[in-house]
């Protein structure tokens, strides 16, 4: 087999495996448990390599599974019987098992252990690739087939158990597959960076979607792309380490997703927040115009911008109001409410005054403390809450300051908020 093609093949399979399994590792908050597993399998791998002739990958895998099972047994019994909190128990098992692995290495010095410690994707031979492919096929079959029960177990294990899912069996099976994936990924990226391949693609995918299935496939795609990108980068120059480059490639994808991810990325959250602030400023503006009409009887006037706390949102807020045809400009520099805008503003003032009323009557607020509270709450009170308030308050005519609560306008054709 061409060595470069084999490396790309292995990197792709490893990215796929780790992405699929890593999705469940991340949503179950087991990222550091995965890290622990990656270190805990080391003594088993070393023993497996030392026992068999010619670094038999199946023996290494068997040893790794045994050691991984021992490690997680040690972790759970430490949690049950010792005073250690989970973090300390994890750190302890991780480092002690790793030290045991190092001790075995220095004692037995088995051939081929370097690949497991530092990752040498070029050193993977036919048997390793066969093992990798088989494991990949098993995982590709298992995860989609068991997707529903895995999801259920991840988010609500108690309910899963009640619904007849064999939670323990499922977890053992998942754990076995995870341990196997960790062992094959180790040979490509090294013992420490397995965590990167397992956790980083899934954590990156989480920025992009709320659906678990989409997250799983996206994590796969990121794992494959990152793995192949790392291999490609390492061919550019002599003496570049493949494992760290693969880890850095998936980390770069993570950074991109963290900034530009369409759902939870920094940029889209920032944009959502800004839109919400614009809405609030626009509503404050509407209310101000309504108050002007209430006090002075409908003279269109200038808006005093200093009354709005988020002044840099003033122009976008005006644009929003114009776009909805809630305000108009009868003369240069002046604004006035349109009939639709007046209705909208009436709803807001109604929310404000009803809430003030509610706070004084039911929450024991003094009447001079309710304005600021209502100023915040009015932006979040919808039609249903207003009718609930009216029902509770028995249709009060006035707010605590003696101002009339305006009657409800006819229901608006489209819901205002999403």
């Amino acid at each position: 087999v061409n060595a470069t093609a084999a490396a790309f093949f292995a990197a792709g399979w490893i990215g796929l495996l780790c992405g699929l399994l890593g999705t469940f590792v991340v949503v179950r908050r087991m990222a550091l448990t995965g890290d622990m597993l990656a270190h805990a399998v080391l003594p088993g791998v070393v023993a497996g390599l030392a026992v068999g002739p010619d670094r038999e990958p199946w023996l290494a895998l068997a040893g790794a599974m045994l050691a991984g099972a021992l490690g997680s047994l040690a972790f759970s019994s430490l949690q049950r019987h010792s005073r250690l909190k989970p973090d300390a128990a994890l750190a302890l098992v991780l480092s002690v098992f790793f030290a045991a692995g190092i001790a075995l290495i220095s004692r037995l010095q088995p051939a081929g252990v370097q690949a497991f410690l530092f990752g040498q994707i070029a050193a993977l031979d036919r048997r390793d690739l066969l093992l990798l492919t088989l494991l990949g096929i098993v995982v590709l079959g298992f995860i989609p087939a068991a997707f529903r029960v895995l999801t259920l177990t991840a988010f609500d294990p108690a309910f899963a158990r009640l619904s007849g899912v064999k939670v323990r069996w499922l977890e053992q099976l998942f754990f076995l597959l995870l341990a196997a994936a960790v062992v094959v990924a180790m040979q490509a990226v090294g013992v420490i960076l397995v965590t990167a391949m397992l956790v980083t693609p899934a954590a990156a995918a989480r920025f992009c979607t709320h659906s678990l299935a989409k997250m799983a496939w996206l994590a796969c795609a990121i794992g494959i792309a990152g793995g192949c990108l790392g291999v490609w980068l390492s061919t550019l120059r002599e003496n570049l380490p493949t494992g760290p480059l693969m880890a850095l490639a998936v980390s770069a994808f993570f950074a991109i997703a963290a900034v530009a991810g369409p759902r939870q990325g920094w940029w889209s959250r920032q944009r959502r927040r800004r839109r919400e602030r614009i809405r609030i400023t626009a509503e404050d503006l509407l209310k101000r115009l309504w108050r002007n009409e209430e006090i002075q009887g409908g003279q269109p006037g200038h808006l005093a911008t200093h009354q709005f706390p988020l002044i840099r949102l003033f122009r976008p807020a005006l644009r929003r109001l114009r776009a909805r045809r809630w305000i108009e400009s009868p003369a240069e520099g002046k604004v006035a409410l349109t009939p639709a805008g007046r209705e909208e503003a009436t709803r807001l003032v109604r929310s404000h005054r009803l809430w003030e009323r509610y706070l004084t009557e039911f929450a024991a607020y003094p009447s001079d403390h309710v304005h600021d509270e209502a100023e915040r709450a009015e932006h979040w009170i919808d039609e249903a809450s207003r009718s609930a308030l009216v029902e509770k308050l028995g249709d009060p005519g006035q707010d605590p300051h003696g101002k009339p609560i305006p009657p409800a306008p006819p229901p608006s054709p489209a819901p205002r908020r999403t």
Binding site: V26, R29, M30, A31, L32, G34, D35, H39, H81, S82, R83, L84, K85, D87, A88, L90, A91, L92, L94, S95, V96, F98, A99, A100, I102, A103, L104, I105, S106, R107, L117, F118, V191, I192, L193, T195, A196, L198, V199, T200, A202, A203, R206, F207, N239, L240, P241, G243, P244, L245, A247, L248, S251, F254, A258, Q264, W266, R269
Partner: protein, 307 residues
């Protein structure tokens, strides 16, 4: 000298230096480690122990020697950056803390390994040493002449680490305790728990710099956690816990020598395994006492209240 057979390893001078170095390293890690474990920040220690690597390499590239303050500065800076990154991802980015830790420290570590390989001709830091530590070779390495005696440089750096950690714990004891157990009270008393936490992390990063060349990234985590875990099963009060943690470091360094020679294994790993054995003994003792106590608890609430 006439030593009994089982003490024979101690007659070799470089063995004695090895034990002294390991004991100082274990002491240096163990003291801040107690507070890390108490504050449930052990895995932050794990993240730190890996992420000091790029700083170490950069510090080495700047200064060109393994024992210069640039290394500590670089390592503390990269450790600090990682902790900030984890916190930013967790608090502002909506990533859970475990995933944020896993992402951040692996990225930093791989950056470190990449730098190490790129500048392999100029950095005298063996990639093997990242995982194994290189105490045995370092003992034979550079010596510093003090009062006519050649002292290994690595011993001096680990002794410096231990002294700094000891001073740190002595001077900031009440701050550290208050911030660990009751941050709200600490804030009320003007002991600024946020600053204390930052100091603790900086101290941890600094001792990890001395531990890293000696035992490598993962086993320095063991030196952080094992003494504290052992001591927390032996006693209740923080000064006693600190003392037992220090004792644990000394004992495991000494016992490690015998294990390493008897089994023919890496000395750093032997120290960790001896430390783990001491931990298991402490845990067994704790369970035994606890069981006895919970039996008598039916008759006396007084003794049960101690637990």
């Amino acid at each position: 000298m006439n030593l009994p057979d089982w003490l024979a390893p101690w007659s070799v001078p470089h063995h004695r230096w090895l034990v002294a170095t390991a004991a100082c390293t274990a002491l240096a890690c163990g003291l801040p480690g107690v507070f890390l474990v108490l504050r449930r920040m052990s895995m932050t220690g794990d993240a730190l122990s890996h992420s000091v690597l790029p700083g170490l390499v950069l510090g080495f590239l700047i200064s060109g020697s393994l024992d210069s303050p640039w290394l500590i500065l670089g390592a503390a800076a990269s450790g600090w950056f990682t902790v900030m990154l984890i916190e930013w991802l967790h608090q502002r980015g909506g990533v859970r803390e475990d995933a944020a830790t896993g992402v951040a420290f692996t990225a930093m570590f791989s950056l470190g390994v990449l730098l190490l390989r790129l500048f392999a001709d100029r950095v005298d830091l063996d990639p093997d040493c990242v995982l194994f530590g290189a105490m045995e070779t370092a003992i034979h390495g550079r010596q510093i002449e003090i009062a006519g005696m050649g002292i290994p440089a690595i011993f001096l750096s680990s002794a410096g680490g231990a002294a700094t950690a000891g001073l740190f714990v002595l001077l900031l004891h009440h701050r550290l305790v208050a911030a660990a157990f009751d941050p709200a009270l600490a804030a009320l008393l003007g002991l600024s728990p946020g600053k204390t936490r930052a100091l603790l992390l900086a101290m941890t990063a600094a001792v990890l710099v001395t531990a890293f060349p000696a035992v490598g990234a993962v086993m320095s985590l063991a030196l952080l956690v094992l003494p504290a875990a052992t001591a927390l099963h032996c006693c209740q009060r923080v000064p006693a816990v600190l003392a037992v943690a220090g004792l644990h470091g000394l004992l495991s360094a000494a016992a490690g020598l015998h294990l390493a020679i008897a089994a023919g294994i890496n000395y750093g790993a032997a120290v960790v395994l001896c430390g783990a054995a001491l931990f298991l003994a402490a845990l067994a003792w704790h369970l035994f006492r606890h069981r006895a106590n919970s039996k008598s608890a039916r008759f006396s609430t007084k003794s049960a209240a101690r637990f």
